[in-house]
Symmetry: C2
Subunit: 420 residues, 2 copies
């Protein structure tokens, strides 16, 4: 039984590799055509999708899944419309494949350059959001990659109907339908097998909780692009405009606390702690934010919950904030180096040297001056779309758009040159 | 004992991480100063280096190592001079760190850009060439990275004296000496432990035989940049200038047959097989090249050794060449897709569409038109230096220079922007 599952995944991986050979040379026209057909088909079969999705939702309710999980699983007119909007947005983005950022000439006359090419086959592992199936398929197609999609077992019926629709659109555009394949097994072992297909799969992108991502990172033979968590800081410098600092910190914590680019710890330089913290903390408390404070903060605002050591590296993903007073920017950067997750770090300051120093010295995928951490996002930073965020440094560091689903190969044009 | 070794490597990895925090902000001046001190010290202590290297060489002879291995292990005035030249060349290269290729402005006024930063800590695993110790240390230093060096056990005495000299130069330049650390254990287990230090090491670069590289790739928790082998082809198209084709094929095979970018299989389009192959094969045979020929080639040049299936994916690294006649460019590209190693592929043609099509369609890290495969090399392609070649597609595809030892992080400058 398990051997059969391994063989099933192997066959899918081989088909994906074969399809990727066609896809890598498919022009923008065909790829955008396929995206348009997807839009049409999803519109046409909206009722059917919602009906089949209801099966998944019913089963999820029967199995006692949390409200949040059921909410993410559920498709309705509105979520399907936003799925379709997403497809249109990807179609409108420029095709990264074939771009040649520049060429140079060697003394012997060889012209050398780099040309952008697809990665090949992408393994995408995610939890129970059927809209991610369509998003990921669209981004992989546009960047010329085949994709193997392993979604959460709770969403399997929804994913399979979407797979059928996406495949149909590919065929209609005269592109190989096996460029997009949903792994139909709901067994956990399927992930393990997929992670061993290093002969056929070029990169694995996991999206979901920290446990899923750690499992993938530790068991994959294939390179993994991932972030484990976002422990993001805002450092309020002595030279900060305090009202700007209050706006930014409030936005970073409260606007959407459950996401990876929300602030988890606020660092405040001691010289302004007395003038900044009491008001700021009141604003947070009025919004329902629980403060976990360092000793010196408690001295300024008595009665706060004292922070424990475990609060500094914590990703609360909730209306909870750790607050620490630091001596200077160096101490702030040391704290970030020790407890941060290389995700998103911001400074608020009006001092040129501090801004420049923070941007250069802080090791994180996105470093901001005088702006909310919430801007670490492919759309917000201008990449057009986002397939995920990478906090390991290889390949790309930070949010990943279409370009990050490609690589560059060298091209060399000569006139008969040989090596001496 | 083994627990101690693991702890020893762990301590080294931690020291490397700490050093990398200083190194990532060290300016070009200091880094180049350290390279100059290395040049001076190696000059001053040349006799001592040669004397200590002789111990390694004597032991290698006693242990019956091959002539080729002893040759690579041996240091003399000349090899030390070329080591020193290498250091000077690296010092003369521009510093990749801090480069900002461009910034763009978002509708809300945020300025967004990417800035080049070091990867952090590099684990470099290689065989018995002490000069690689110095080369790799210099490239890692210049790109702002700390490095852990695990060389072949045969070279341990040579590597340790070089380590001492490099450390001294770092201290003299006021940079942390633990930025450069040779792992002194000659135990094989040391490699295994190093490959598990994913909390402290950002990337592993192995250089050596295919077995070593496979072991590293299969056992590493840390991303690996590597190529397994180079099975490189030259495709001689129907529209080739036959004398240019002869020059290029001869150079690609004979100029240095033992290296990864030498041609291993020559593909010839059937229309020109009669006019091209007899002469070409004679030239090869005169140079001592053994030909393993497909059936159709044997019909044209009788008496050749027939190629076996195992010859097509073979990396001979010797004066041996597989030859195959193909129907057209598509068949050539199919053959390359099936048997190639994504390393280096060349076409010889005078036809514009074929040149363009080959460049675009062939999936290899370097694709050439009318030039020898031997040009796949960091120096030859203008990268200034080379730390290795990557044939996996993540991070960089092809030869890796200083830039490939860095990544980019996003920097964002705002004026108080928050997310709506």
């Amino acid at each position: 039984m398990q051997i059969n599952l391994n063989e099933e995944i192997l066959a899918m991986a081989r088909d994906a590799r074969e399809s990727s050979r066609v896809l890598r040379n498919a022009g923008r026209d065909k790829k955008d055509k396929a995206l348009e057909f997807m839009v049409e088909e999803i519109h046409l079969r909206k009722d059917e999708i919602i009906k089949i999705n209801a099966k998944d939702v019913d089963l999820a309710k029967k199995n006692g899944l949390s409200y949040a999980m059921i909410d993410r699983l559920k498709l309705n007119e509105e979520t399907i419309d936003s799925m379709v909007d997403g497809l249109r947005e990807v179609a409108a983005l420029p095709d990264p494949v074939g771009e040649i950022p520049g060429m140079w000439v060697r003394p012997n006359g060889l012209k050398v350059g780099r040309i952008r090419v697809p990665l090949g086959v992408i393994g995408f592992i995610y939890e129970s959001r059927p809209n991610v199936t369509v998003d990921a398929a669209a981004l992989c197609l546009k960047s010329g990659n085949a994709v193997l999609l392993k979604g959460g077992s709770e969403a399997i019926n929804s994913n399979l109907i979407l797979n059928e629709i996406l495949n149909g659109a590919m065929e209609k555009a005269d592109l190989p339908k096996k460029s997009i394949q949903v792994i139909s097994s709901t067994k956990h072992e399927a992930v393990g097998y997929l992670l061993k297909m290093d002969d056929y799969v070029d990169v694995i992108i996991p999206r979901g909780g920290e446990d899923l991502i750690r499992f993938v990172a530790e068991n994959s033979r294939i390179p993994v692009l991932r972030h484990f968590k976002g422990v993001c800081h805002v450092y309020v410098d002595k030279y900060a405009d305090l009202s700007m600092a209050q706006n930014i910190c409030f936005n970073a914590k409260v606007q959407r606390p459950g996401v990876c680019n929300a602030m988890e710890t606020m660092l405040v330089q001691e010289d302004i702690a007395m003038s900044f913290l009491p008001d700021m903390i009141k604003v947070f408390q009025d919004a329902g934010v629980e403060i976990r404070a360092c000793e010196n903060t408690v001295k300024i605002v008595p009665g706060l919950i004292p922070a424990r050591e475990s609060d500094w590296p914590a990703e609360f993903l909730d209306l909870v904030l750790a607050v620490k007073i630091v001596k200077d920017m160096d101490e702030a950067i040391d704290h970030i180096d020790r407890y941060g997750s290389k995700h998103t770090e911001a400074i608020v300051t009006s001092n040129y040297d501090r801004a420049r120093g923070f941007l250069e010295s802080v090791d994180a995928s996105v470093v901001l001056v005088n702006a909310s951490t919430r801007f670490n996002d492919g759309f917000e930073l201008g990449l057009g779309a986002e397939i995920g965020i990478n906090t390991s440094k290889l390949h790309s560091y930070g949010p990943m758009g279409l370009q990050e689903l490609t690589t560059t190969k060298f091209i060399v044009t000569g006139s008969g040159q040989v090596r001496q």
